[in-house]
């Protein structure tokens, strides 16, 4: 039994979305209901509008392993993490955690804007479960990791968001729980800092700690976890070795469609700065957007609503993956220098990325669409595996493949320019 750190059986969580239009129940309404129908048993009845965010989730995690939880938006990942980190109770089921638990559901938990960096290290550390003596002991290391030395006594409200993230993560990185829950915190911070954090997390895993890690980033999951659990609509789809689960994830779900649209800005992916409206694959000259001839150029079109950008310059970036979860390449709309230099206004923005023909390899290509601002890097809207399409090589002789019909490896298949000519030097060939 000592070898199992986390065991969950039949976890389920029900939310009532029927009440969404009136999220804070009104006192009068509740009193009225009680007065008019005092005998009504309200708890037990299953109601219309009940929504099961999680259903019958069971798994065991041995001590010292790192398990990734993956799934699309709304699959129940965050709900599971909230139950495990004791923020909310399961509606059904039971879980046991054997060890001191730490959870990292956001960066900078418990920060108070008015307090200085120094004060916030203590406050956040204490809220995350550290003892005062422990914080004192690690204080210098935390400051060094966050790299904000001279701003230690400045109120956090005057920090740039990058500094806040660094400080927040630094505090969290020095937690020493036996079981750690981490939610998607790596989506923030600049690239170098992300690398530092990933390094720190691998260290945590090697220290004999048990880690449950929720992420959209397949490369991070593949790199950090030996095992993964795929959730879909609240249920466990597959639980096994990471690469198998990731492959399954990439094969299923909305990653099959070549066109996505969100009609209601209120529920579209994004935040106050940017929300996605649509992501589409448009082959040049029309035709099927699901299956695309390898020779044909395609456009990936992203539309997003932007509000109050102010000084911010929202920028679209597209991440292209193949079936194995390998990132083929990433591209940003700042390649349009004219747009990049344009000051932004609220409204709808349409960004199109042109991909030449004879560039992608055969097989499925999955595109993640992101709208971010930089310095510091903040992801405002992100749809993992927003669209996908299949590139088909018909081997008609005029492609990269030419007349060669066998296996043709490579993550891209660009038609590069060649120059071949006959040398004037004569060679005598001996018999």
């Amino acid at each position: 039994m000592d070898e199992i750190a986390i065991s969950a059986s039949g976890l389920a969580k029900k939310y009532r979305i029927g009440l969404r239009r009136d999220p804070y129940g009104r006192l009068t309404e509740s009193l009225w209901n009680t007065l008019t129908d005092p005998l009504r048993r309200r708890r037990s009845q299953e109601r219309e509008g009940d929504f099961w965010a999680l259903r019958d989730v069971s798994f065991e995690v041995p001590r010292g392993s790192i398990v990734g939880i993956i799934g699309r938006n709304g699959a129940g990942k965050s709900t599971l993490l909230k139950i495990l980190s004791r923020i909310t109770e399961p509606t059904l089921g039971r879980a046991e955690l054997r060890g001191r638990v730490g959870s990292l559901l956001e960066v900078g938990t418990g920060f108070h804007q008015e307090l200085t960096g120094r004060d916030n290290i203590f406050l956040s550390g204490a809220i995350l479960g550290m003892k005062r003596a422990e914080i004192l002991r690690k204080f210098d290391e935390i400051v060094a990791f966050a790299d904000i030395g001279q701003f230690m006594d400045t109120p956090v409200k005057r920090y740039s968001s990058g500094m806040k993230v660094r400080l927040g993560f630094a505090v969290a990185a020095f937690l020493e729980p036996e079981i750690l829950f981490i939610d998607e915190v790596l989506a923030v911070g600049d690239a170098e800092f992300q690398k530092k954090c990933l390094g720190k997390m691998s260290e945590i895993g090697q220290g004999g700690r048990t880690v449950i890690f929720v992420s959209h980033s397949m490369p991070a999951i593949l790199r950090l976890c030996d095992r993964a659990i795929l959730l879909d609509r609240g249920r466990v789809v597959i639980d096994g070795p990471t690469h198998e689960v990731v492959r399954r994830y990439l094969e299923t779900g909305p990653g099959r469609t070549s066109s996505r649209e969100w009609t209601d800005p209120a529920i579209a992916p994004g935040d106050d700065v940017a929300r996605l409206k649509s992501v589409r694959v448009i082959p040049a000259g029309g035709g099927s957007s699901e299956e695309i001839d390898i020779r044909r150029p395609i456009d990936i079109e992203v539309e997003y609503w932007t509000r109050t950008p102010g000084e911010l310059r929202p920028s679209v970036n597209l991440h292209f993956y193949n079936d194995e979860g390998v990132c083929l390449f990433i591209n940003n709309d700042w390649n349009d220098r004219r747009w990049w230099a344009t000051s932004r206004r609220p409204g709808l923005v349409r960004a199109v990325c042109h991909i030449p023909g004879n560039f992608l390899a055969e097989g499925r290509v999955i595109v993640t669409a992101v709208v971010s601002t930089y310095n510091p890097t903040i992801v405002h809207a992100m749809e993992g595996e927003a669209v996908a399409f299949v590139v088909v090589d018909r081997s008609e002789g005029d492609g990269v493949r030419g007349v060669y019909a066998n296996d043709f490896p490579g993550v891209v298949r660009p038609m590069l320019e060649w120059q071949v000519e006959q040398s004037s030097e004569t060679v005598s060939v001996r018999r």
Partner: protein, 288 residues
């Protein structure tokens, strides 16, 4: 929600100290979980420290507000009500009389407001990390004890000014303060839980505090209340606190019965409120 088994001695694993956290649904009433609060007392201290540090940031007068609030009220009431016949007891200067009532009252009123809003203003942490939720209203009340201590100093100055020297009864002051704290924690914790679901509390609170002050003998002497209403009057725990304060500092008849009734009432309010809080606590993160 949490069962903490005894740490095994000499556990086989070097990392695991034998603690098991069990997560499962709860229905109905639960234990008060004060043991867990005690285990988290360091975090309680940090919350109090935060509230104190933040409270008077970016104010010109800083912690002087802790004294200014009751002093200004004292001036207002002395000018407006001080001349009325029989409003205070004979032989006690009205400003001193009213100030001795306002000091414990301010402790209660600020603590009550702070505690009632503590869950809603703690939303960010409640939805991101676990700790015993009771810490938030407790810390809110705790942070006002420092303000109270400062205003006690001001009260001493006022007493000196009027040449009043307290008797030995002053040793009851801590117990009476505790009673005010128990009442504030009781009502505040209850309201903080209601506030999570019904933000109406925010609007009701100022009226409640105002009405409650006039229902307590803060600006008038309790002898103004007819004898037949005295038992009901004493059910308000703040009646015992305020009258007790004046007795302990200025003198007069010892309000035994009043204090006893008030003390019992405050304890009952506290228990009921903690029980209610624990009952609805499990839904906080989902509802807030």
């Amino acid at each position: 929600m949490v069962l903490i088994e005894n740490p095994k001695t000499g556990s086989a694993s070097s990392v695991w100290d034998g603690q098991v956290v069990v997560l499962e649904p709860h229905h109905g009433w639960r234990q008060l979980g004060l043991g867990e609060v005690w285990a988290h007392r360091e975090l309680l201290y940090f919350f109090i420290w935060r509230d104190l540090k933040v409270r008077y940031k970016q104010t010109a007068f800083g912690a002087a507000w802790a004294v200014l609030q009751p002093v200004l009220l004292m001036l207002v009431f002395s000018v407006s009500l001080g001349q009325l016949p029989n409003i205070g007891p004979a032989g006690v200067p009205y400003p001193l009389f009213v100030f001795a009532g306002l000091v414990p009252w301010t402790l209660f009123a600020s603590s009550l407001s702070g505690a009632s809003n503590s869950m809603v203003s703690g939303e960010a942490v409640i939805t991101k990390v676990y700790f015993p939720r009771l810490l938030l209203p407790f810390a809110s009340v705790g942070s006002f004890l420092l303000d109270f201590t400062i205003s006690l100093g001001a009260l001493a100055v006022v007493m000196l000014f009027f040449g009043v020297v307290p008797s030995l009864a002053i040793v009851w002051l801590p117990a009476l303060t505790l009673m005010a704290v128990v009442t504030a924690v009781g009502v505040g914790t209850f309201l903080s839980a209601v506030n999570v679901r019904y933000r109406d509390v925010k609007y009701v609170l100022p009226f409640l505090v105002q009405l409650w002050m006039f229902a307590s003998p803060v600006v008038y002497t309790s002898t103004l209340i007819p004898a037949k209403w005295q038992p009901v009057f004493a059910l308000n725990p703040m009646t015992g606190v305020v009258d007790g304060f004046r007795w302990a500092l200025i003198g007069g008849d010892r309000p035994d019965a009043l204090i006893l009734v008030s003390a019992v009432a405050s304890l009952l309010v506290l228990l009921g409120s903690l029980a209610y809080f624990r009952r609805v606590e499990r839904t906080f993160a989902d509802v807030i």
